[in-house]
Amino acid sequence: MSTVQLLFFFLSVLAIFSAVMVLVSKNPVHSVLWLIAVFFAISGHYILLNAQFLAIVNLIVYAGAIMVLFLFVIMLMNLNAESEPRKHLRMKFAGVISGGCFLLVLISLVRQTPELTGKTVMMATGDIGLIKNLGKALFSDYVVPFEISSVLFLSAMVGAVVIGKKD
């Protein structure tokens, strides 16, 4: 087994374990910290796929900005394990069962798909994930969506201020 494959399985196990811990943790702050671990593992996957730009953007935007926002909100509300709302054990069981059935259906779907057999993913090579190529495509083919996203950010900023304002 090569190094890339070993890293793939290690990062996958790390991500799934951390994702389960996000759900299991009683304290919301611990959930946020486990979610940051998931994002680091996914950034490692991006690096394995040689999508370097997305790996860095994932770290900066998700692990850096969004998770800090979550932490601030949780600390602002002073949430902890005691104030955590409880759900009935029966409802939890039903949720896990239905989520597991969803996973099983999707896995059997993928196993039966003939289009996916023999297809491999290019690991650790290929230069479409580099900033040079992504920037060229972003500012030639996708320049209109890029500019529209700035309007989206402006409206999100105004919306957040209007919603979060007192009275």
Partner: protein, 111 residues
């Protein structure tokens, strides 16, 4: 690496997010599980982009096929950042009104 491994991994992450939305009652945790699902889809988009690139590069070594998938991931991250700011503002407003982040307080809309 076969593309099925990536699909199974992303399906597992996505299902964990679904289970989290179904089983937790804290609105912030539910929101974090939605972020988890978005990230699973992002990773799958990048894996498919590299799959198409691997298929196209055998005929044309200078091709940039598959770059669209990575740009979609970039735009998903843009939209997710905007969504989180508005969503957290809504959760803060809900906490200010009800002094709780329990999503069962929100079922009053049905009456």
């Amino acid at each position: 690496m076969p593309v099925q491994y990536y699909i199974y991994f992303c399906l597992a992450l996505f299902s964990i997010g679904v289970i989290g939305v179904l089983t937790r009652r804290n609105a912030i945790i539910v929101f974090m599980c939605i972020e988890l699902m978005l990230n699973a889809v992002n990773l799958l988009l990048v894996a498919f982009s590299k799959m198409h690139h691997a298929a196209a590069i055998t005929s044309n070594p200078a091709t940039t096929a598959g770059i669209d998938g990575q740009l979609f991931v970039f735009f998903i991250m843009v939209v997710a950042a905007a969504e989180v700011s508005v969503g957290l503002a809504i959760i803060v407003m809900m906490y200010r009104n009800t002094h709780s982040v329990d999503i069962n307080f929100l079922n009053r809309l049905k009456n």
